[in-house]
Symmetry: C2
Subunit: 359 residues, 2 copies
């Protein structure tokens, strides 16, 4: 029996995708071997990786002036690759700090450049997003970095920062593919796959072509966006099985009506859960309403002493991986693309029942 | 129907492993979710990654003074990480050149240090391994690097170079886990997983602890061995599904009698194939006998015009992915751990039959 899995990542994948992967594990398309056992230079895998790029371009309307790169190392490696690739002769970069992930990105960038903190929502205890007017942008910065959805805090930008001629860089790991996106507003978009895209170990980078080729040869070849752009992500062996799963996920997404269709479903799921929290005197979410994440919904119980009982009883009802991040505590329900409405309904019903009995 | 798949990598995996992965894809150990959908911080995955390290330590007899790291980026990223982590204040490193992979490693290292070519088998057209006495080692080198099995050329070192007090570094990507190994002879061993260990996208590093901690903070955090050693490879999200498959592969290997048992099987498979080639006037392998790889067996047909027919007929008999590397041409049969003796027997029978009809 499948359960409803609210893991923040590596996260739930569409059941249809796992079903197909299971069926094809010993013999992909009747070939007699798994795609996991196939040379990355084989026609079979080459077709998969090319189709994956085309699906991404089509689903997100990625302009032709952008490269789509599939690589490894997660968002953590991008925290270094962004400055190494974008600084060029410049020495400064702007960072918007809104939570743990943007702080980590800035911390790593300090190894390579001067970090100008363009905004910091620490005064709001990470519960609000800085307004456009509050961003103290440096016109000489090489780029402006922000994290458009802070997974741990459950904070999502309701707007795209305007940065003039300075390239905008976004860590979109935890809401990439959850809604339409105007790629042309960005210089670089990056995302770890393990939320809405595929298994952990695959990383996506979308980069404007004029920003490719600035990385100095004093850095490793594998950290240069050009290495991946020129070789269509096949400079060395890519994580082939993860690319295959991502390919299946994108086809599933297209069948849901693409990012437009999934956005409607995600908005409905998030509204159901936040409304239930707000209507209750027992559960609470601290984030200002305009900046609440549609993907990650942290919430607290009025009595933290009941956390253990909540997790225990939820688990018995097939509602799992709800424990909040250790830095925030409480609960967190991650309701990514693959979580059906029924999962959120079941969670809300359980929450109301738990409140009646313990509240 | 499963075929015999001779891919050089990503390569054949044990059928039992794929069978279990297929069965557990929708629900791991009855949990109702895939291990692919599980948080890397969950008790389930934590147990898997810890067990994976213990299995490696036990199978290879890794001494306690060594760290076992699981990371991403393939051997290509190690080509940079080795100098960045091992140079310290030194400026020179020794490289033994025996083929395409050791050349690639040296080429990348030239970005970071002076590369002393300790030996180069180009004069033998990459068909022989330099003898110990022929190595021109620099006592002031930070380390000595070699590739102990050259996948493309099919050349395997029959001995471990003695390097005195200078740490020995080996790229073992394509024969790691195929035979016993005296880890204490090495400073660093690294290997991409996609031959004998698991899916592409997982990389193993075994490093002597006194070599951890020398990486300068001017390099990215994710390139420092210490980052992985201190966090037990959980500094950021590891490629969790690939670790899970590797875990199953190691259990399978233990059931084959460990590396001692698999070495006997590998020796028998290689002898069968090389003997058939040598007994024929139609097929040939150029590598000197003492240095022939047990894992990768390149061979040529007397008439290259028959290559297409050979591949076509082999495919019809369920013998696939036999085409040689584009830089070498001809055929290559990679007979890694997961290839059963029956696969090599079927190949030899086909080769003899093909020779009778076309030779």
């Amino acid at each position: 029996m499948r359960v409803f899995n609210f893991s923040s990542g590596p996260a739930k994948l569409p059941e249809e995708v796992l079903q197909q992967a299971s069926e094809e594990m010993l013999s992909w398309h009747g070939r007699g071997y798994s795609i996991m056992e196939t040379s990355h230079r084989s026609p079979e895998f080459t077709a998969i990786i090319e189709e994956t790029e085309q699906l991404l371009r089509s689903l997100l309307g990625i302009p032709s002036g952008y490269s789509v790169l599939l690589l490894q190392g997660g968002a953590h490696l991008q925290f270094a690759m962004v400055p190494l690739n974008l600084l060029g002769p410049k020495t400064n970069a702007d960072y918007v700090l809104t939570g743990i992930w943007s702080e980590k990105a800035a911390e790593e960038a300090r190894r390579f450049c001067n970090v100008n903190v363009a905004a910091d929502n620490a005064a709001s205890d990470r519960t609000a997003v800085p307004a456009q007017a509050a961003l103290r942008l440096d016109p000489a910065a090489a780029y402006v970095h922000y994290c458009s959805n802070e997974t741990i805090n459950g904070l999502e930008f309701p707007y795209v920062p305007a940065t003039g001629d300075v390239p905008l860089v976004a860590d979109m790991s935890s809401h990439f593919l959850s809604r339409p996106l105007d790629v042309s507003r960005y210089g670089v978009i990056y995302a770890g796959a393990q939320k809405n895209f595929g298994p952990a170990g695959l990383t996506l980078v979308i980069v404007r072509n004029d920003l490719v080729g600035r990385c100095s040869p004093r850095w490793p070849t594998m950290l240069d966006y050009r290495t991946y752009a020129e070789a269509h992500s096949m400079y060395n062996t890519p994580p082939t099985y993860s690319v295959y799963i991502a390919n299946l996920v994108l086809k599933w997404l297209a069948a849901q009506g693409g990012v437009e269709g999934i956005e409607r479903a995600n908005a409905a799921k998030a509204k159901l859960l936040y409304d239930a929290i707000d209507a209750s005197g027992f559960y609470s979410n601290r984030i200002e309403k305009a900046a609440r994440s549609r993907m990650n919904v942290p919430f607290s119980l009025a009595d933290a002493g009941l956390d253990g009982a909540f997790l225990q009883e939820a688990g018995e009802r097939g509602l799992v991986q709800l424990k909040g991040h250790r830095l925030v505590g409480g609960m967190r329900a991650s309701i990514y693309n693959a979580m059906p409405l029924e999962g959120v309904q079941a969670l809300v019903e359980f929450m109301q029942d738990f409140e009646r009995r313990h509240g």
